[in-house]
């Protein structure tokens, strides 16, 4: 045996990862064919076009503003990139924990004669790619709009790549280093719990703070004493020591036609220095951290709380259904990665209600009545969309999460209908409570009439039942049994199809109700008595039929699909 061993290339260490990705793509293509690809590309293309369109309009407007235009555009880009860097740091910290400490390939890599530097670089690449691909895709239409409006030319493309790449690497290194330190302090599984709470708490805090300072007030010209103050604010860098600011400066200087090499140099040298320091830190701390990561977090649970409370309430049910519901509730509340998302949900609900409260509707004029009812009506669609997002996160993955235990469920005499029933109601009941609270509170804030209150509460009930069923049905149609992280399941193809179907359902319901609500509002506005005519009844009947069908059909299809599952 020789003292030195030939080291595998970094490419070789990363090979299983990209081969897995290639194989998954191939399998997805074989399963779904061109139809699936077309839907994905269309949805992605539409999203890109939407972002591009909005940015294009804003930048076109800025371009027309003398002197201030480029400053405003630069500020906007700075804020967008700053938001992206913050998101990247959070997602890199969470991803680094999985890829550096909990991944299944670590036993193989750590026991093989692969040196620390290759291991670090391979895992860093993995972390950066996993956490940044979505942000990278989002940046494309944004920078495209900047490039087109400010006529960046063909050279803008390579320049933008050159600028954005180090901006993606830096949060990766910081995330990996933070995780390394945390794992050395806490056991890995505890760290994961802590991180998910901290990350979501931080994200929620940022959203809440941003909304509560009411940024729309800043847009009012009377807020500034004079133009000079306004320009001073715009010229002040948002965060001079952050890579987002350097990237903004580099891009804006290119677009102005006077390339400033300093920000680009700062980006690349800092990235190189950070990777070096990160690697050294990895050499010093990884071995102890990895050892600590193997230590399980001991957790004794004697809790009989759910059995006493929910268990007693469910006494009339069969024992199989009751045990299934109890099991689902326990699993949800014992998994920090699951329940911690409720923090974000609570924040979003507060922001939603706050937005409705902030609407300047009640000024006493008669027009108020019309708009109040219009907002209340459109609020149904918005609330429906919020509920759909929640269902995508919590109900859609329900079937996929049973995947590894399906041997038990399928070999037992459990009727799959009972399984479907339990999953449906465990998801629907909380969603229904939320839906009623959301619609009820916003209606009270809007001071709507009792007619609108009844219509919107009844509609949101029907919609919630349908949205839950769609989420569960599509979750069974497009299961992700191999995914360990529940948070990744809604971003799959099936999740996309579910969201698209739900948006179509919301559109159909609003369209069907439109005539009925319009007749009512018109009558009140004109001071005539409200007559419930055939059109109104027809509208309500269509809504009931559409929601009924959207509840029953997906559940039946989902059940049929589950009966055909093979493991």
């Amino acid at each position: 045996m020789t003292g030195t061993t030939v080291q595998p290339s970094l490419w070789h260490v990363l090979q299983p990862k990209w081969r897995t990705v290639r194989q998954r793509l191939r399998e997805a293509r074989e399963r779904g064919g061109w139809g699936r690809l077309t839907i994905l590309l269309t949805a992605g293309g539409l999203f890109w076009l939407g972002v591009y369109g909005v940015l294009f309009r804003i930048l076109k407007y800025f371009r027309g503003v003398e002197e201030l235009g480029p400053l405003l555009a630069g500020k906007l880009l700075g804020l967008v990139l700053l938001a992206f860097v913050s998101i990247l740091i959070l997602s890199n910290v969470i991803t680094a924990l999985s890829s550096f400490f909990l991944a299944k390939d670590l036993d193989l890599l750590v026991s093989a004669p692969v040196d620390w530097l290759r291991l670090y670089l391979a895992k860093l690449w993995e972390t950066v790619i996993h956490s940044s691909w979505m942000v990278a895709l989002m940046i494309v239409p944004i920078l495209a709009a900047f490039g087109v409006i400010y006529r960046g030319g063909m050279l803008f493309l390579p320049f933008a790549v050159l600028t954005i790449l180090p901006m993606l690497i830096l949060p990766g290194v910081v995330g990996a280093a933070l995780t390394l330190i945390l794992v050395n302090v806490f056991p890995a599984r505890r760290t994961r719990d802590l991180l998910s709470i901290i990350a979501l708490g931080a994200a929620g805090g940022v959203i809440l703070a941003f909304r509560l300072i009411r940024p729309e007030q800043l847009a009012r010209p009377e807020g500034f004493r004079n133009l000079l103050d306004f320009v001073t604010v715009l010229r002040t860098p948002t965060s001079p020591f952050l890579p987002s600011e350097w990237a903004t400066k580099a891009i804006m200087s290119f677009l102005r036609g006077s390339v400033d090499p300093l920000p680009l140099l700062l980006l690349w040298t800092t990235a190189a220095a950070f990777v070096t320091v990160g690697a050294l830190l990895h050499r010093e701390l990884f071995a102890t951290g990895f050892t600590k990561a193997q230590e399980g977090a001991e957790r004794f649970v004697r809790g009989t709380f759910w059995r006493w409370t929910v268990g007693s309430l469910l006494k009339p049910l069969t024992v199989a259904k009751r045990e299934f519901v109890l099991k689902d509730i326990k699993l949800f509340f014992r998994d920090t990665t699951q329940w911690s998302q409720l923090i974000l949900l609570a924040v979003l609900v507060v922001v939603y209600v706050f937005n409705i409260k902030a609407l300047p509707l009640h000024r006493g004029e008669p027009v108020g009545f019309f708009y109040v009812n219009l907002v209340s009506f459109l609020n149904l669609g918005l609330a429906g969309f919020v509920l759909a997002s929640i269902a995508a996160r919590f109900i859609f993955p329900a079937v996929s999460l049973e995947g590894r235990q399906m041997w038990l469920l399928r070999s037992s005499p459990l009727d799959l209908k009972a399984l479907m029933w339990s999953k449906y109601w465990v998801g629907t009941v909380p969603l229904l409570v939320l839906a009623l609270l959301l619609t009820g509170i916003t209606n009270v804030l809007l001071q709507v009439s009792s007619f609108m209150m009844v219509v919107s509460l009844a509609t949101i009930c029907a919609l919630t039942l349908a949205i839950s069923a769609l989420a569960l049905g599509f979750g069974a149609l497009y299961p992700q049994f191999e995914t360990e992280n529940a948070a990744q399941i809604p971003t799959s193809f099936g999740g996309l199809v579910f969201m698209m179907t739900t948006v179509a359902l919301l559109g159909a319901v609003i369209l069907a109700l439109w005539q009925a609500v319009y007749t009512y509002v018109r009558a009140v506005y004109d001071g005539r008595p409200v007559v419930i005519d055939v059109w109104m009844i027809g509208g309500f009947t269509v809504v009931a039929a559409v929601c009924g069908a959207a509840t029953v059909i997906p559940l039946k299809i989902g059940l049929k699909r589950m009966e055909r599952f093979e493991f």
Binding site: R189, V301, K327, D335, W407, S412, P413
Partner: protein, 252 residues
């Protein structure tokens, strides 16, 4: 008690199980042997109702597993080779949950849970989340869950993997007692000494087909194998030349 009729399973163009027919009578411990990829696990998972056969049927106590699944599965306890269980339940909660799937609850089940945990030395772990269990402890928990509803038939895939010698011995005793009381066990294993010592009858499957079936003396007779061990017989039937080649490669 277990009857396979022309059981066939295709994965695309690949034939994993090819027209198998077999009968396991009540009160018998039946071994199911074969090399890796021969179709053992696929067959057992079809018997447990987890996989649907492409053709043929499985009867347990006269009930078709796919036509009358609930009746057939009430009689069955299945122990898979990979112990995936809910990580965020405690051992006792998991057993209570499984009992619930069979419609059983109450004091009798609580006593049964305590009894099984005691037998498998998991009592001190009963209030700990399964995520903290070792592979062997998970395997013991799954074995307990397969016994909780007092099944008539146990279908078990590689039961000894991950078990310590004491637990392995305990499991052998449990299976023998179970069979002694009229129960039926169909067991796949790679441990040929275990199969030879424990099984009343043995079936050997290769390339999805049953190539031999009977008691060990029957198999020796059928294949004119003299007084050789089950291991020698197995290698003869499933291509022992490979093993010798492997020995040569390792010896180089």
């Amino acid at each position: 008690m277990i009857r396979l009729e022309n059981l066939t399973k295709h994965y695309g163009s690949f034939v994993a199980v090819d027209d198998i027919s077999m009968e396991v009578p009540r009160g018998l411990l039946h071994g199911f042997l074969g090399p890796n990829g021969a179709g053992k696990t696929t067959t057992l998972r079809m018997i447990a109702g987890i996989l649907r056969p492409t053709d043929g049927r499985v009867l347990i106590g006269g009930d078709d597993v796919h036509q009358q699944p609930l009746a057939a599965k009430m009689r069955l306890g299945f122990i898979p080779d990979r112990p995936f269980v809910y990580d965020k339940l405690t051992g006792a909660e998991f057993l209570r949950f499984v009992a619930g799937l069979y419609g059983q609850e109450g004091d009798a089940i609580e006593r049964r849970i305590a009894e099984l945990l005691e037998v498998f030395e998991l009592t001190s772990w009963k209030d700990e989340l399964v995520e903290a269990y070792s592979h062997g402890m998970r395997q013991k928990l799954i074995i307990s869950s397969a016994l909780i509803h007092r099944p008539e038939v146990i279908v078990v895939d590689e039961p000894m993997v991950g078990l310590d010698p004491k637990a392995a011995r305990l499991l052998k005793d449990i299976f023998r007692q179970f069979v002694g009381k009229g129960g039926t066990v169909l067991m796949s294993t790679h441990t040929l000494e275990v199969a030879e010592a424990m099984c009343d009858r043995i079936a050997i499957i290769q390339h999805g087909k049953i190539v031999a079936e009977g008691t060990v003396p029957d198999l020796r007779r059928q294949h004119q194998a003299g007084d050789v061990s089950l291991e020698e017989l197995f290698l003869k039937l499933t291509g022992g030349a490979h093993a010798r080649e492997l020995a040569e490669v390792l010896g180089r």
